[in-house]
Structures are given as C-alpha cells and as structure tokens.
C-alpha cells in the first residue's frame, strides 16, 4: 500500500490517513448538521480539538470526549428528527474508524478483510438505533406505567455493575 510523506510519520499508509481523517471529520460533520443553529463556542472548539487528539492516538481515552460532546449537545436540543439518526451513524462510523486504527501503529496496513468485517458489524449495530428512533418518535412516554421507569432504572444499575465487573482487569 502506498505511503504518504510530509507531516505524517514515515510508513503511514493511505488507508490509515483516510481513517484518521474520518475520525476527525465525522464528529465535526455531526455537529455541522445542526446549521443554521450554532452550538456553544466551547463545543465548537472542543469537538475538533478532541477529535484531532483522538485521531492521533486512536486507542486513547480522549476518544470519548468528542462523542459525548456531540451527543450531549444534540440531546440538549431535545428534538428527535431525522438528523439524530444521521448523527448516530456518523458517531458510530467515527468510533469504528478509531477501532480499526487501534489494531496497530500507523505503519500497519489496513486489512481489507478487517474493514469488511467491521462494515458488517457497523450495519448490525445500526439496527437498534433505527428501532430506538422509531420507538422514541412513535411511543408517548406519558402512557408508560410508573413501575416501568423504576424497573428500567434498576436494570440500568445492574448492567452498570455487571459491566464494571466484566471489564475489571485480571492482572495483579
């Protein structure tokens, strides 16, 4: 695979550069979908900067910052229109680009089989988003019985605890 020179580290392949560009651009595009509405200046500055840092180190914890900022800002608008679904696709694509980058250094050629695999997985992951979007738009939350919210909150707490237990490292 061809390599690029200049600002990029020697040996970095074109596919890696493309994926890094996607990691930077997709959260910004997700924010730009709100035009003509303009987000808060902090969000406008923090999203590109954190996305750039994420693209530089794809397996760093900073990767959650642009996703949370974009999702939080869209949540603050409180409108569930078609753009929310597009934002979900864009954020998922940014996440998957970072996943593919995190398999190795920039000099690691991107395996086509791996790209196809994650493309399939990405499409599968979009199904719940579509279901949730349709549900949120079609179901009136005021009709839900009160115990449903309590049960959901309890289940969320259990899931939180289980996740924390599962992701605990075995290393001593």
């Amino acid at each position: 695979m061809a390599t690029t020179g200049g600002l990029i580290a020697p040996g970095t392949t074109r596919a890696v550069v493309v994926l890094r560009v996607l990691v930077v651009a997709l959260p910004c595009v997700a924010l730009a979908l709100a035009i003509p509405e303009v987000p808060h200046w902090f969000v406008l500055v923090a999203v590109p900067l954190s996305a750039a840092a994420w693209a530089r180190v794809p397996d760093h914890a900073v990767g959650i910052v642009p996703l949370v900022l974009v999702a939080g800002w869209w949540a603050s608008r409180g409108v569930v229109d078609w753009r929310v679904l597009v934002v979900a696709v864009l954020l998922l694509a940014a996440h998957l680009s970072a996943v593919m980058l995190s398999y190795g250094p920039g000099a690691l050629p991107v395996d086509r089989g791996l790209v196809r695999l994650w493309l399939r997985r990405g499409l599968l992951a979009l199904v719940p988003a579509l279901v949730a979007w349709v549900s949120v738009r079609g179901i009136d939350p005021s009709l839900a019985p009160p115990w449903l919210w309590l049960t959901t909150a309890s289940m969320t707490a259990v899931v939180l605890l289980v996740t924390a237990r599962l992701t605990r490292s075995d290393a001593r």
Binding site: P10, G11, D59, H60, A61, G63, I64, L67, V68, A71, W74, A75, R77, G78, V79, V80, V84, L85, V87, A88, L91, L92, H95, A98, V99, S102, Y103, G104, P105, A107, L108, P109, D111, G113, L114, L117, R121, G122, L124, A125, L126, P128, A129, V131, A132, W133, V136, P141, W149, T152, A153, T156, V159, L160, T163, L166, T167, S169, D170, A171
Partner: protein
C-alpha cells in the same frame, strides 16, 4: 503478567451505552437513547466475547544461517487461539536489517492466517533480528492480550558469496592432490612429454604408436596434480567509508570481508587448503584446511570481524606458512606496520599478492579543497599511494579488488616467476 484487558474501544462503547441509557431514563433525554443504541451492540458483543485462555506466544525463524542479502521468515506460534480474532506484530527496527512488510508491522485476522514478518540482513556481521511486539485482540475488539515483547535473536550474518572465479593457477602448488598442475612429473593426467621406457615404468604408460614407429618402447609422462596452500590476511584494523549494506556503498572492511569470502570459496571449491589471519585488536588465525566444513568456519570467522575494533598492526605476519603458499593480503593499506609486515613476508620467499580494498570508500570530496578534512584525506591518499609504490617496487603485486578475474594476470606472472631459475647467493 500479561492478561486480557478491555480495549479503549470497549470502554468507550460501554460508557456511551450506560451514559445514554442513564440519560434517557433519568433525564428523559430520548436523543441520548437513540445515539447510544448502536454502541450497546458493540459493548454487549465485546463483553460477551471475552476470552478465558492464557495463550503462550513465541516466534521462530525459518533459518539461522544467512548470508547478507538473504532473508528468513519469522513465524508466530500461539498455543491457544480460542477467542482470538486478530493478531498484530510489530518488529523493532534493527540496523542493517530490512523487513517485509516495510516498517515491520503486520496484522491479520486469525481465520485467514497468522501474520509473518520477513527479515533480511543487509550487511554481514553480528545482527539481531526477531525482536518484536505481539498483540492479540478478541472478537469485536473488546479485549487485548499484550502487547507482549518477544526477545531478539542474534546470529552471525555471513558475507555475500560474490561471484568470483579465476582461470589462473596458483604459482607454487605444494600439496599432495588437487587440481593445480605441478612442476614435478607424477601420476597426473596433464601431458608432459614422451621418453624411452625405463625400468619401473608402468606398462599402461607405454605409447604404442610411438613405440612401433621408433622400434623402441616409449612411455608418456605426465605432471603431478597438487593442491595449494592459500593464506588470506585481512586488515581489520579500521573501517573507512560508510557501509550502506549490500544495496549501498561499501566501506573498506565490507570490500575486504566480501573479497576474502569470495577467494575462500573459490579456493576451497578448487580443492586448495585455505587459512586465514585477521589482523585486528582481537586477531584470529584459522589454520589451513579444506572442505565445506572448513569454508563454513572461514565464513563464520569473517562474520565476526568487528568494524569497531581498533588494534595495533603487527611488525611481522606469523602465518607459519610453507614456502609454497600463496598469501593474499586484503587491505586498504593505511597502516605502515602492516605494509612492513607484508614486505617482510615477501622477502621470505612467499608469493604475496596485495589486494587493495579501498574501493570508493575514500572518494574525492566536494567543496572547498582547503578544508581541513579534505586536506587530511588528500595527505592520507598520498601516503597510501607511496606505500603501495614501495611495495610494488619490492616485487609485491598490488591489485584493486574488482571481483571475477581480479587475480588472473597477477597469478600468471607469479607462476612464470616461480618457474624461472634462481641463483642462490
């Protein structure tokens, strides 16, 4: 201790999922539920795919004996691949070692095949290859094992077997059997002449056509065929010029070692006995020997010649060589004591040939000729030329190394000189 750790991608997916669900339930933010929904799939699948194994990872090289320019493949061995989806290998950069893929990074899905890395040493000498980092990733990129550091493996890279051949015979073969024509009459196959039959001659040597024509029994005489003792004296006192490996420029030591390797291989193939003396700080002497095993020993010795070693040139070269041996002194002749030792060897009656291995290592410098470095280089060159002229004046041939045919003319001249009658004082 290495263990399976959650990847940042899994942690990110988990946090986004939990944050979205919590925000949706507690704060009533429906948008968060929609945005977090895709990450829920990734989080759940990543968590579920956690491997429970403790794989042992090792790497093996296909070859442990290489010449410069040759390559070997490093193959990964993992005892338990259950739950592993992807393997990444990144080899550390090593001087004068090229890798394939370039930059030493290789990765592949386990279902395809384990990734391999090809190492190719580009220069003779001690080289360390195989140092790398390996990381295993589980399905859905949820868990990672490693990165694990695998140790390097050092081995001596033998010099390139440069194509070398010569049709000239060594001047004074002195052995028992071999491919060189002797000056003595013996039981070889090379025709020498025809003479009348004498008592003790073998009957199968009788030439019947001549015997019938002359009426007297005549026999064919032949020359004996002998091997020769060849000594290779290497100048390992210094290394001038920059070595670019087998693909680039050659330093003086590169040329010396490669020329010695080519000469050793040629003479061993011819059936001669070859010895070697490395003149350096930790000088090595390999006695005369022949055969494939001896060639391996010679090449191994060449691979261990250290370019960094700085030693003192000896006043005389103690080869323990017989009068019939041919001595090749491979050197750029920068050190006067080595020149003196060579001249002493020549006076001792041996057939000494100096092979100049300076090559292009000390090329003319561009820029200001009054610059100190340029001035020093010119002075060094003048001194070197003077030494070589004085050596030539003593009757020691000096030839620059040019590969095949380098020694043809010189060896033929030495052979003629050897056949000329000598007057003893």
């Amino acid at each position: 201790m290495t263990s399976w750790r959650p990847t940042p991608a899994l942690v990110r997916a988990c946090l986004l999922t939990l944050g979205g669900v919590t925000g949706g339930v507690v704060l009533g933010q429906e948008v968060l539920v929609v945005l977090a929904a895709p990450f829920a799939v990734l989080a759940v699948m990543g968590l579920v795919a956690r491997p429970r194994t403790a794989p042992r990872v090792s790497a093996q090289l296909d070859h442990v004996r290489l010449h410069e320019g040759q390559s070997t493949t490093s193959r990964l061995a993992i005892d338990d691949l259950e739950g592993v989806e992807h393997v990444t290998r990144v080899a550390f950069e090593a001087p004068h070692v090229a890798t394939q893929p370039a930059y030493g990074a290789a990765g592949a899905l386990v279902e395809a095949d384990l990734p391999t890395i090809v190492f190719s040493p580009r220069r003779w000498g001690r080289r360390a290859v195989g140092a790398e980092r390996v990381a295993l990733t589980s399905a859905w990129a949820g868990w990672v094992w490693g990165p694990l550091d695998l140790p390097e493996r050092g081995f001596n890279v033998l010099p390139q077997t440069a194509p070398y051949d010569t049709r000239a015979e060594v001047p004074q073969p002195d052995g028992l059997v071999g491919r060189h024509r002797s000056r003595r009459i013996g039981s070889g196959t090379e025709f020498e002449g025809i003479r009348p039959f004498a008592t003790g001659d073998r009957l199968k040597r009788i030439t019947w056509p001549v015997s019938l024509r002359t009426g007297e029994l005549h026999v064919i005489t032949t020359r004996a065929e002998q091997d020769a003792g060849v000594w290779l004296v290497l100048d390992g006192l210094g290394d001038m010029g920059v070595s670019g490996g087998i693909d680039g420029a050659a330093s003086t030591l590169d040329l010396t070692v490669r020329a010695a390797s080519a000469l050793a291989e040629h003479h061993i193939r011819t059936g001669d006995r070859v010895g070697m003396l490395v003149v350096s700080a930790d000088g090595t002497r390999v006695p005369l020997g022949s055969g494939a095993r001896h060639l391996q020993r010679l090449q191994g010795t060449l691979a261990r010649v250290r370019a960094e070693a700085r030693g003192v040139a000896p006043e005389r070269l103690d080869l323990g060589a017989g009068a019939g041996s041919v001595v090749y002194v491979l050197s750029p002749m920068f050190f006067t004591p080595l020149v003196t030792a060579t001249a002493t060897l020549q006076r001792g009656g041996g057939s000494v040939v100096v092979i100049d291995t300076i090559g292009d290592a000390v090329a003319a410098r561009d820029g200001d000729p009054r610059e100190l470095a340029s001035l020093a280089a010119r002075m060094q060159k003048i001194e070197r030329d003077d030494r070589l002229q004085r050596l030539a004046g003593l009757g020691t041939p000096v030839v620059p190394w040019r590969g095949p045919g380098t020694l043809d003319t010189v060896l033929q001249q030495l052979a003629r000189r050897g056949r000329a009658p000598r007057v003893r004082a």
